[in-house]
Symmetry: C2
Subunit: 362 residues, 2 copies
């Protein structure tokens, strides 16, 4: 697929110093320890998985939103209503990661008790990487699924107005001898964060990532600034999938809609977006003994990995495999940071007068 040219990392830093950095940064702007730890852990896990966005590079931005009063540092995250199979959560404008961990834990509890659990959240914010919450469920031996709505960046098929979000989908499935399958995909060809990062790193945009304001494919960053349009996966199919995700994360939850967050083609930033999320956990034990289920998942993974390979391909990967392999490596060797990420963290450390030093691995 189209992907960014490889950018050499600026530094490899220890996991521990990055974690202390995040917790200090969030506590300094007023989050209690629990919230600071949760938000840090979600972002840190994305850095561990080698995700170029939704990672520790986002910490200064989130902290700045708290300082501006746009994110609630001391929220009352509460369950508004629940049944044996579902819970509806009001996030009280807390950081989306915190709301989401609370919500997914609830869905997990319900799935363990009765086989399936759903949780919705509203009055929330950007929740980081969707895959994280699905992965929490897989860690408990459950199938996990989550989605969220997001700012407007997809046009309806045949249209040119940014109307729907790229509404990422995270799904995780436990295996036996392999790590869990972990799918984390936006309904656009490239995640918005990846487009922004490519522009920030001065990289050309690969073909297929964006559309201009007339709905035509483009590779020019200027077109993206004017159009705000990512190209949906599978053309009309990604548009349709985005509406399904919006139904679960936006319509059902009582959250605001992406098209309400638009101001003359610009995405509004300085306000409380009232985002919505949807979480689900399914216990495979409802259907099969756990060992049989995970053995069958292993069989599926082995079948995929055993495929004949395209020329130049050394190994076939299943969803999440590269990321979870990076996680093992980075836990041992420290986390490589891209130049723009490393610079942003150092700048914010100085500005916020943080005590934590990022310890570079030699």
């Amino acid at each position: 697929m189209g992907s960014m040219a490889q950018v050499a990392p600026a530094a490899r830093v220890t996991v521990d110093s990055l974690r202390r950095y995040g917790v200090e940064a969030f506590q300094r702007v007023g989050l209690p320890l629990e919230g600071a730890q949760i938000v840090t852990e979600v972002q840190l896990e994305a850095s561990l998985r080698g995700q170029p966005t939704h990672n520790m590079g986002g910490v200064p931005g989130y902290a700045a939103r708290v300082t501006k009063g746009l994110l609630n540092a001391t929220p009352d995250i509460r369950v508004e209503r629940e049944t044996a199979v579902h819970a509806q959560i009001d996030g009280d404008n807390a950081p989306g990661q915190w709301v989401s961990v609370v919500a997914m834990r609830r869905a997990i509890e319900k799935a363990k008790a009765g086989g399936v659990g759903m949780a919705t959240a509203r009055h929330s914010n950007h929740f980081g990487a969707a895959g994280h919450y699905a992965w929490l469920a897989a860690g408990e031996g459950l199938i996990g699924l989550c989605t969220t709505n997001a700012g407007p960046c997809l046009a309806p098929w045949g249209g040119t107005t940014p109307t729907l979000g790229n509404n990422p989908l995270g799904v995780a499935i436990p295996a036996a001898t392999y790590p869990p399958l972990l799918l984390d995909i936006a309904m656009s060809m490239a995640a918005m964060g990846k487009i922004a990062l490519a522009i920030a790193e001065g990289q050309p945009l690969p073909p297929g990532w964006i559309l201009d304001k007339h709905g035509q494919p483009s590779t020019d960053p200027a077109d993206f600034r004017e159009s705000l349009l990512g190209a949906p996966i599978g053309q009309h199919k990604g548009y349709g999938l985005s509406m399904i995700m919006e139904t679960l994360a936006g319509v059902l939850t009582g959250a605001s809609f992406p098209w309400e967050a638009r101001d003359n083609r610009r995405q509004r930033r300085d306000y409380e977006p009232n985002l919505g999320h949807f979480f689900m956990a399914i216990d495979p034990r409802l259907f099969l003994p756990f060992e049989e289920f995970t053995a069958r998942v292993d069989g599926m993974i082995a079948a995929a990995k055993g495929s004949e390979r395209m020329e130049g391909v050394d190994e076939i990967f299943v969803p999440g495999e590269m990321e979870l392999r990076a996680r093992e490596r980075n836990l041992q060797q420290g986390i490589p940071l891209l130049p723009s990420t490393y610079r942003a963290l150092l700048d914010y450390r100085q500005k916020a007068e943080l005590e934590t030093e990022l310890v570079v691995v030699q």
Copy 2:
């Protein structure tokens, strides 16, 4: 998106005569009235929606499989195990449409009672159009979802061996003043039936539909016969989505896997495939009053339809809208049949000595 050149229909026939044709054809090969009616209705609805495949044109093929002893005309479709939130169904090698209507009805009952219902099926067969079962749930005011596994036609990303199915996803969502949203998409850019139909109608294959045996894009039907490979939507994303669908429809259900249905790159046809399906219904009333839910769905539809349009586009459609509009028209005016479909139905009528005449609308 790439699509087939327009083929003029050979005839427009009455809905009633097509229905009688289907029921007679299936009863003649040994199905009881109930089964004959269910299978016919699923295929007829696809014809009504103007779907070029998975429609009444499939009747002769299904009937022939019964005659060959590959489909069980008098099955014992039974619930193997169930809880308040789920049912596991053994299809006893019945036509997939029959198994699926039984299973989706069970999921609907459970969703009405407790807010969410899941049903799995194994020992089943091709179930026709995925959207139909989701649409049954929407007709009851529920969110409906279904998927199935299928013969091998997608390679893992980076691979060239047909390993996974294109595993269609059907989702339907009730609205207030609009018809339900109805998404029915394969995880390949084009459904396999559409590729086969384009080849049968002598049409060139649009770019983006198939890959050759080296995994490279192609438009040559000969490459498809050798490769069996459809191009996944969103590249690695469609591959990942297909594994998720396989987990729900194949792994969880105890069905056979697509890679087991492969014989030296050929898809095996003359055997009982033991396909698996997954169905889910969610009651939106669990989360919101129904009127509020459907009004919010209407708002989403209106936002999409109100988008500025690309040059040459007269109207923005939401998923299923064109199909459900065709359904209204065809209910009034009769169903247009493509030349290859009309010919196949007339040929089979003669061969099977059916009494029902297809009544052409003048």
